[in-house]
Amino acid sequence: MEAIACEIESGYAWSEQQRVGCAVGGVYTALAIERVLPIMHCGPGCEGNIDSVMARTNGGQNADTYFESVIPSTNFCEADVVFGGQERLRKLVDDSLRFYDADMFIIIDGCTAEIVGDDIEEVARGFEDARVPVLFASLPGFKGNNLWGHSQILSAIIDQYLPAQAGVINPKQVNVLGVVPFYDTFWAATLEKLENTLRELGLEPNIIYGRRHGLANLDKIPNAGFNLVLSPWVDIDIAQKLESKYGTPFLHYPAVPAGPTETAKFIRAVTEYAGLDRIKAEHYIREAEERYYYYVNRSIRWIFTCRVQPKEFYINSSAVQALSLTRFLVNDLGFIPRRIFINENVPEEHHGTIREYFKELELDDPESIEIIFTADGGLCDQYVKSEDTTFRKTVVLGTTWDELTAKVLRIPFVPVSAPYGDVIVGLKTYFGYDGGLALMTDIYNDAANKGMGTVN
């Protein structure tokens, strides 16, 4: 434990157990928009390196329209260091326009092209008259992680593609931001369910990622009545950008609600902000809560008969999952947080506000919760392995890196963020009322399977 303490004090920059991709991971934000294709000016392996942590080993995901293997790439090589790779890139874009029936191309570059000073903006400008938009975004890995890359891609779309002025504003339209496609393993199902919920409340949600969305939805962005940011810090910059470009106000809700308490709070917040029908919203909440507790009740005998109860948890995850799931576990399931690790290298300016969000918990002393911001995914592991859990009924929520530790120590575990695991995620999400039930199920099942099951 001493070693851990001095590591934290020394503010080290290294990391292990990678839970983020580098900036190039932003290409997944492009790939999540139907028929948008990135063109990479990168080394031959850069895509593969982000792919594993963000897609393949993150719940068995792959891109939809264009599988990863057909992403055009210059495969930057030694000769390009000497002579520059700009000409080769130009030729590649030219060929790509001929071969891919995409609606938009985004040229991106990685570390090496950036260091040798290839100018992708100039290359993109050369294609201003192409049959579809050709954008550019610099994504060198040494500048940031995939969340930074995500922001670069969205900024590129706003700056280079969206019109200077909004059209006719549709007050009911809400653009949904904050959920990062692919990186958030549950993104697809979360957005589908969220879309339904918002629609039932009387809004017209505009979601750019996933099935049947695409450029038509990008085009609608400027005309929204408001933007909704569902995350503690990601995409706030994008909402601010849209506010200054189109004057679109935004509602910032820091968690993706899971379970009845938080979901009700979220619905009320949206209803209030957008001036929606309160009676309808309350009716929705009442009905959904009743259904939630109906299903809880159907398993209550199994959960509370001759079983040791998991109670205390570590979470080692992205900021949004850490906050959203902590709120559910504390407020609805009655668990107690042991330590919370947020491992996506959150910019320091957001640390204070995120700590505040964790105080909104129905606990006697929410101030005492230990929240650790780090880029080092392996730090939590050090704690879990070295702390005495003899008398505690501990659960770990995290990534498949943590899964092995939990397996060896026989601690119940549930994957909740990237890299989720070498399994397929399907339609899983912990969003909303059903999401709460799903997480409850996963925790109790793994506890039983790990032998925390029946009392002796």
């Binding site: 390196n49 982000i50 293997s69 790439s73 090589c77 060929d95 090496t112 092995l404």
Partner: protein
């Protein structure tokens, strides 16, 4: 060409062996150009993403027992290691094996300021901290595109840390930009680990070395080697320092394929006189017979070898005939790494399947072996079995492979690891990613493989219905291209 372990780093495959990633023609033509430099590489103007040497150097090093890898790179470059760590921990465990652990890969996290001011101090403190946290037996420092382009003197740091920590600290260079062939990363791993783990052999033992990714399936083959009085040492994921030391005392080595295994096998032959059996790989029945005969001769137990061959053949002949009756005449397209592409071409032929085209992800016209008199495995097949067909070489260039799938419209595709199977399914063609290593060795392996194929083709409802929904996201111009349209006009080295 001899390998020089005194060099800091290994040379790339292009430099050492004249290996290529672009070719189309026939197998006979390809294999007739067997000298480094005799085979002209075809470069492509249009390319898609591929894979990188760096990544493969790290995953091999981190898979060994007791190692820790410090990746001197920005955070992203080690992002794919989780996939390997998970795979490693799913390998079957034997009694007495150490508890499961993740691969230990630490990134020094080169950032923007470091690209201007350098990051050697950061690297050193990363190595020290990582050592303190994990207490590994060995540390390997991998270099990256970025550390190379900003001109980091990693080797000096490595020497300093070796002194300071008192454990082996070694450099493994595998910058993705140096080689188009990801197998060059296997060489970086091999070079580094050879320097650290091999030492003077004390004697000769009745052991044989197997080089490969994983020891999966060894239970099927151990008894065969025991008949020749040989114990198999697996220099695979999980291999210990002791395994490597014992390997220098073996009578022979062979590898899962020439891409992953040839460097270490060559070092063992060159430095310690451990014979490298590289001409006949033991896959399928034909491969096994030739391999086992060679081994019988080498160990002076030719009669026992013949006996084992006859027994194995008899044991599985009925099953093989049954499989052949179901598979004969089926048409296959193969897209695999350069070693397995041609091995599987032969094995498919043994089951009566017509391989219409084979794609290799790269091609080495020669290997590093000392015993130059022995042929490459694929050359042996051309000479001994008159194997010939249309072949091409592309480094997982899926846009090219897709056009080949379209041209040949095979009954199924056999591939592994680089998404060709996913594209095949999407377009309504059944496909499977193949097993490698012990599992497909010998007649038993042939039956296992053949059974999987029969299952694959036994019910194609899923692929038919899924494939029917496919709408090409490409242009008509692309769909009408000749598959070999992406080459740069002038052929270059």
């Amino acid at each position: 060409m001899a390998i020089d372990l005194r060099q800091t780093e290994s040379e790339t495959r292009e430099q050492r062996l004249g290996s290529i990633t672009g070719y189309d023609g026939t197998l006979e033509d390809l294999t007739s150009r067997g000298c480094a430099g005799c085979l002209k590489n075809k470069l492509r103007d249009f390319q898609t993403v591929s894979s990188c040497a760096h990544h493969h150097a790290i995953n091999q090093l981190a898979g060994l027992d007791g190692t820790l890898v410090v990746d001197h790179a920005p955070i992203g470059c080690a992002g794919a290691q989780i996939g390997f760590s998970v795979a490693k921990n799913r390998l079957p465990m034997a009694p007495g094996d150490p508890p499961l652990e993740h691969a230990k890969v630490v990134s020094s996290g080169i950032d923007e300021a470091d690209t201007i001011f350098g990051a050697i101090e950061k690297l050193k403190s990363t190595v020290r901290d990582a050592y303190r946290r994990h207490k590994p037996q060995e540390i390997y420092v991998t270099t990256s595109c970025t550390s190379a382009v900003i001109g980091e003197d990693v080797y000096s740091a490595v020497l300093e840390l070796r002194e300071e920590l008192g454990i082996p600290v070694e450099i493994a260079s595998g910058e993705g930009l140096r080689s188009k062939i990801w197998a060059s990363g296997f060489d970086s791993y091999s070079h580094a680990v050879s320097k650290v783990r091999f030492g003077k052999p004390e004697k000769k033992n009745n052991t044989i070395n197997y080089l490969g990714f994983a020891p999966s399936g060894r239970q099927f083959v151990d008894p065969l080697f025991e008949r020749l009085g040989l114990e198999v040492i697996c220099l695979t994921a999980g291999a210990t320092r002791e395994d490597f030391q014992r390997a220098t005392m073996s009578v022979a080595s062979w590898g899962q394929c020439s891409s992953q295994s040839n460097y270490i096998c060559s070092v063992l032959e060159q430095e310690y006189g451990v014979r490298y059996l590289q001409t006949h790989l033991p896959y399928g029945g034909i491969g096994f017979e030739r391999f086992f005969r060679d081994l019988g001769e080498l160990t002076g137990k030719a009669d026992i070898a013949e006996q084992v061959i006859a027994e194995e053949k008899a044991k599985y002949s009925e099953q093989i005939e049954a499989l052949k009756s179901k598979l004969t005449g089926k048409r296959a397209l193969v897209a695999l790494g350069s070693g397995f592409a041609f091995e599987y071409t032969r094995v498919l032929g043994e089951l009566g399947i017509d391989v219409v085209h084979t794609i290799a992800y790269h091609y080495d016209p020669v290997l590093d072996q000392n015993n130059i008199d022995s042929d490459l495995a694929v050359v042996a097949d051309v000479k001994e079995l008159k194997l010939n067909l249309d072949v091409s070489v592309n480094d997982a260039q899926e846009m090219e492979t897709n056009l080949l799938m379209k041209r040949y419209n095979p009954d199924f595709l056999l591939s592994r690891g680089h998404e060709a199977a996913a594209w095949a399914y999407r377009q309504g063609i059944p496909a499977m990613d193949s097993e490698i290593g012990f599992v497909i060795m010998g007649y038993r392996g042939l039956v296992e493989f053949g059974t999987t194929l029969v299952e694959l083709l036994g019910n194609t409802n899923f692929v038919r219905k899924f494939g029917a929904r496919y709408r090409s996201p490409f242009t008509r111009e692309y769909e009408n291209l000749n598959p070999f349209s992406f080459y740069r006009k002038e052929e270059a080295m």
